[in-house]
């Protein structure tokens, strides 16, 4: 679900760690512990590797020490703000197969885009590129579901204007879900860019609010760890 997924979906990203969204269940965690033991992975930060922290929305951070993966970082999460349950994510996943037979199970693009709506600067240009790449790849033969995805997630004013001109009815239908579509058919690029910035600002603020209690808990855990050393 991290940088590697972004590369596969079309963004130009250089990611040094690997992020996994996993099902938070006792049985699955047992399987994950076996896989992490193969990688000789150690937890390198708070919180500890426990189900209760994953279920709250924390990420668990590992560093691997097995020779073929020495130094590699792995992050595991199970719950993300604004993103559906793991069961739904898994149902909508995309499976890609490499020439060597390796399968990659990716979060679907719409889910990945939702997961990227964070407080961090770097995630927003990434969302823009991901949706642009999908738009350019499929705009000649858009499926209904894709049209909806583009209307709800495109962050490029020029393309939103183009899309609204091509499909005005769909645009109007989705105004309730994305109020800035009200002006997509008539606004200038500048106006729409401003509306997109405001939309981003609100999402980032929502993410900051979401993380306030989680960050406080992380801070407590850090302090407790320091006291125990």
């Amino acid at each position: 679900m991290g940088g590697q997924a972004c590369v596969l979906y079309g963004a130009a990203e250089f990611s040094r760690d690997t992020d996994f969204a996993i099902l938070a269940s006792t049985a699955n965690l047992s399987r994950l512990r076996v896989a992490l033991a193969d990688l000789k992975a150690e937890v390198i930060a708070v919180p500890p590797f426990e189900l209760k922290y994953l279920r709250k929305g924390h990420a668990i951070h590992f560093r691997c020490h097995a020779s073929e993966a020495d130094g590699m970082r792995v992050d595991v999460m199970t719950k993300m703000r604004g993103v559906d349950s793991f069961a739904k994510l898994w149902h909508r996943r995309v499976t890609l197969q490499a020439e060597d037979g390796t399968s990659y199970e990716l979060m679907s693009l719409p889910d990945l885009v939702k997961a990227k709506k964070t407080q961090r600067d770097k995630d927003w240009p990434m969302i823009r590129r991901l949706v642009e790449a999908d738009y350019f790849r499929h705009r000649e033969e858009p499926k209904r579901s894709r049209l909806g995805f583009w209307f709800l997630e495109l962050r490029t004013a020029e393309l939103l204007i183009e899309l609204a001109a091509e499909h005005p009815k769909v645009s109007r239908k989705l105004i309730k879900q994305r109020p800035l579509l009200k002006i997509a058919g008539s606004a200038t690029e500048i106006d729409l860019t401003e509306a997109l910035s405001e939309e981003e600002r609100l999402e980032r603020e929502a993410d900051r609010q979401y993380w306030i209690p989680l960050k406080a808990e992380l801070e407590q855990l850090r302090r407790a760890r320091l006291r125990s050393v």
Binding site: M72, L96, F136, E162, W211
Partner: protein, 76 residues
């Protein structure tokens, strides 16, 4: 219709036009070169991340040397 080249330039438009597995292969090549040059395997510190911990330990460069450093700077 706006073309990808018009919007994002030729280089990124070419990247968009690759298949997922072509992008994956290019990314793997880049990764191998990065590792061969001794690049750090730790993500760049991201102070905006809720997970950011200024006291977190970092790993050594993969080749055990001192890692990449700037040896010459051009004038800005």
């Amino acid at each position: 219709m706006i073309s990808a080249e018009q919007l994002v330039g030729e280089e990124l438009a070419n990247w968009y036009s690759l298949t997922p597995m072509e992008r994956w292969r290019e990314s793997v090549k880049l990764w191998r070169e990065y590792v061969a040059m001794g690049g750090s395997l730790d993500p760049e510190p991201d102070t905006q991340s809720p997970f950011f911990d200024p006291a977190a330990p970092s790993s050594r460069p993969v080749d055990g040397r001192s890692g990449l450093r700037v040896v010459r700077r051009g004038r800005v």
